[in-house]
Amino acid sequence: MGILITLLVAVAVAVALLQVVPLLVYGERKISAWIQDRDGPNRVHLTIKGVPIMPKGLMQPLADAIKLMFKEDMVPTKADRFLFMLAPVIAVVPNAAAFCVIPFGDNWVIASMGLDVNLQVSNANAGILVTLALSSLAVYALAFGGWAANSKFPLMGGLRATAQIISYEIALGLALISVLLTAGTLDLQEIVHQQAHNFTDWNMFKQPLAFFILLVAAFAENNRLPFDLPEAESELVGGYHTEYSGLKFSMFFMGEYLAMVSMSGVIVTLFMGGWSLPGIIDPGSLSFFHGPATVLCFVVKMAAVLFFYIWVRWTLPRFRYDQLMNIGWKKLIPLALLNIGVTALVLAS
């Protein structure tokens, strides 16, 4: 029975993740249009026998997906075909799997059926490490994709991506450590519980520097502006995915958005109280609506983080490569180390 429920949750998460990507793309296009005084997608809609099912523009992601499916898929003759195939596969899976350990809701007690559903695909006790490990796997996609095409712009994009992601991963990891120090555990559910009682318990207030470093590093990890140098459409045309077309391209696209979703899940869980809302949604309630309410709260918080991602992207210009490396190595890493030291000192004294 337990396994069955876990399976159901896993399937639900997988389906939800697949749905989130088109919605996010639509959201990004609408928000950017709003920022730039445009309309955004406003044509594609679904009408059955004159009855509008979906409002105008909302079907745009579906239309895009169908278009990409029917696009010819070209592999350059000079390319390394195996790695060229492999890269888009790696781009999606680890980024989606990184979401597994994130608790997106409290235990959902369904009294009438005598069930206690754990709203988390996997309650691994070192969950945060799994997320980190999986998200760093995604760097292979960019490295392989960039190198395999045997084309110059992708190669540069791939190299940039690799160096950028591994550099910022250290800053990311170090920023997390200071949070874990204050939490005293690696269990994500427990970290959420710690933050559930007071807004001031949220780690973003307890560890503002770590929050800032993690936010910056998260942008760099996900290749979002101002750190989107691996793609940098005005310099490298498309970076590592220049040579990709059709579904393979869409896999890269999906992977990127999934990485954003997973990362925002991590941010919400660690810094913004996860699924809890002090005073309103408290842990441990036995009500039937408690489960859905926590999930809703989590989704709203994640949407806020994702909105911030999009907002920043359409506001800031991008760094140059050496500036990016300087920030990563010479500013963020020393700062993060310092933060750990100070945190440990305060705790020990």
Partner: protein
């Protein structure tokens, strides 16, 4: 507990199968395939590419990879430390509150844990400082390298 990690693995494998099916099978059924030599050339702004792009790339990428490796291992070691640091402090505090007798080591566990990790981190920081001072973190130096290094 192992079951929990199995969940992740299953999720991973299912995702893998889904994507591979998508990329190879579904796309093969749906998409047209009209190969043409010119289509399959690599993109270089509309001009034929000169030379291969599989060149020997900058040595600094390897340097960065090496420093990363060292630091990542360090970070991995810091995680368990971060996990137990507060807990052991709390245990000592509790013990104190309950009025239990403490040995000297137990009483100074806070500073012991702190300095132990500090030494560990410092050793790595020495390497970091060395790389920094040597200028390997200075990205632009190939052409104007000598001047730039002196300036910084």
């Amino acid at each position: 507990m192992y079951l929990d990690f199995t969940n992740v693995l299953v999720f991973f494998i299912v995702g893998l199968v889904f994507v591979i099916l998508n990329v190879s099978v579904l796309s093969r059924i749906l998409r047209p395939s009209i190969p043409h030599e010119e289509k399959e050339t690599t993109y270089e702004c509309g001009e034929p590419a000169i030379g291969s792009s599989w060149i020997r790339f900058d040595i600094r990428f390897y340097t960065v990879a090496l420093i990363f490796l060292i630091f990542d291992v360090e970070v991995a070691f810091l995680y368990p430390w971060a996990g137990v640091f507060k807990r052991s402090l709390d245990e000592i505090k509790e013990a104190k509150a309950m009025g239990l007798e403490l040995t000297a080591t137990q009483a100074s566990i806070g500073s012991f844990l702190f300095f132990e990790m500090l030494i560990f981190v410092l050793i790595l920081v020495v390497g970091f400082v060395y790389v920094w001072a040597k200028g390997d973190l200075q990205w632009i130096k190939t052409m104007t390298g000598q001047e730039d290094q002196q300036k910084n």
